[in-house]
Symmetry: C2
Subunit: 213 residues, 2 copies
DNA sequence: TAGATTGTTAATCGATTAACAATC
DNA sequence: TAGATTGTTAATCGATTAACAATC
C-alpha cells in the first residue's frame, strides 16, 4: 500500500506514538529553551529516551548529536501534523453545563479550533448567551454548517438524545463527531467519531486505587 | 510475581483490555435483554468477537455456549472491577466553567462517584453556589478531605496554577489527581495521575480529518 | 579528539488474531 | 443430535526496548 509521499515521512503513525506526540507538543509549548534532548523529554514524561527518539524519527526533523532537538522546529512539525495552523470552525450541540463550559473554553485558539455556534432544542435556552455566542435552535444548523464550513461538532446532550443528534449532524454534512455523551454512537463509515466520555478517566482511577497494594 | 488470589482471576489487566471493558460496561447498561453474545458486543463496538471473549475471560464469569453471557452477571463483575459499588467522595478544585459543569454532572452517581465540595481561590466566587454546593476557599481543604475521606480530586484550574494546586492536594492527603488542565504535572510516586486534557481528543480529530484521503 | 547524543537495525515483548476443541 | 457459541492454546502481528554505529 502506498503510504509515503516522495521525500516525506510516512503519514501513518502507530496510535500510541500519536498520543505521545501530543504530550511532546504540550510539554514543548511550556519550554523556552532552544534545544531539548530525548533524555529530558523522556524524564519529564516518564518514558524512555529510546521511545522519544523513535517517535520523533517519524517526523521530518532530525536532531543534533550532543545538542538535541530544535524546539521551534519540533513544534512546527507537530503543529503541522495535528493541523493546528489551520483553524477549524466547530459547533457545539447542547447548551447545558458541559456544552457551555466547552463553548467558553479558552484553550481552543492555540490549537486551531474556533467555536462558531452553540445549539439547543430547549426554548428556554434559545436566545440566551453563552459567552459571546447566542444559543441557536437546531433549525439553524444547516445554515451555520454551510456558512462557516463546519466539519466538526461536539455533542454535549444527554445520553438519550445523543444518537438522534448524531444522525442529524451527519445528515447536515458534519464529518467528525466529538462525543461527550456517555453513549455508544453509530456513525456511517467515513464519519469520524471521537469519544470523550468523562466517566472513563475516573473509572481508571477507581480501579487502580482499589486494586493496588 | 504474585498476581493471583486463590480461586480468583488475575488482578492485572492489559491496559487496552481495561479500556474495552469500560466500553462493554457502558454498552451493557443500555441493554435490557438477559444474555448477549460475544458476536453482538463485537458488532456494536466494531471489534472482533475473539477479542471480546478474550477480554471477558479475564473476569470471574463464564458464558453459555449457544446463549452468550448473562448480562447482569457481567455488569456485576465489571462493576466490582471498577469499584462502582463503593462510592468515592471527590472534590473539585477550580469553579470556572469546567469545574462547575463537572460539579453538576449527573452521571457520577451511577458509577459510584459523589462530588462533596468545590474549591476556588477567587474571593468573588467563594460563597456562591454551584448546584447545591457552596464554593469553598482552599483553607477548608484539609477539613473537607478528612471529614469526607476524600481520596480523589479533580483539577479544573488554569494551566499556570495546576502544579501548585497538585502539590497542595497531595500534601493534604489526596491519593489520585484527575487533571483537566492542559499541563504536564508531576506527582510523587504512589500518587495516581489521570490526565483528561480535553484538547487531546480534538487533536486526533484534526489530524485524521486532514491526513485521510 | 573524546564524549554525548542522535538515528536505526535487530531482538524482545506483549497484545491481537486464528484455529479449534469443549460444551450446552 | 446438530449447531452455535464459548474458552483456550498457538501463531501472528505490531510496538517497545536494546544495542550500537553515525555524527556533531
Amino acid at each position: 500500500m502506498l503510504k509515503n509521499h516522495i521525500g516525506r515521512k510516512p503519514l501513518m503513525f502507530p496510535k500510541p506514538t500519536l498520543e505521545r506526540l501530543k504530550l511532546y507538543y504540550a510539554l514543548l509549548l511550556t519550554e523556552n529553551k532552544d534545544y531539548i534532548s530525548s533524555d529530558e523529554i523522556a524524564k519529564r514524561l516518564k518514558i524512555t529516551p529510546e521511545q522519544v527518539r523513535k517517535d520523533i524519527s517519524h517526523l521530518n526533523i532530525t536532531g543534533k548529536p550532543k545538542v538535541g532537538y530544535h524546539i521551534p522546529s519540533l513544534l512546527g512539525e507537530l503543529s503541522e501534523l495535528f493541523g493546528i495552523s489551520v483553524t477549524d470552525n466547530i459547533i457545539i450541540v447542547g447548551a447545558g453545563g458541559l456544552g457551555s463550559a466547552l463553548a467558553r473554553y479558552k484553550g481552543f485558539e492555540k490549537i486551531g479550533v474556533k467555536v462558531v455556534a452553540i445549539f439547543d432544542n430547549d426554548s428556554e435556552k434559545i436566545g440566551t448567551f453563552v459567552g459571546e455566542l447566542m444559543v441557536l435552535p437546531l433549525s439553524d444548523l444547516q445554515r451555520v454548517v454551510k456558512r462557516f464550513k463546519v466539519r466538526i461538532a461536539a455533542i454535549c446532550v444527554p445520553e438519550e438524545s445523543a444518537q438522534e443528534v448524531t444522525d442529524l449532524l451527519v445528515e447536515k454534512g458534519i464529518k467528525a463527531i466529538w462525543n461527550f455523551a456517555p453513549a455508544i454512537l453509530h456513525v456511517p463509515s467515513g464519519i469520524l467519531l471521537e469519544n470523550e466520555d468523562i466517566t472513563r478517566g475516573i473509572l481508571s482511577i477507581k480501579h487502580m486505587l482499589d486494586k493496588k497494594g
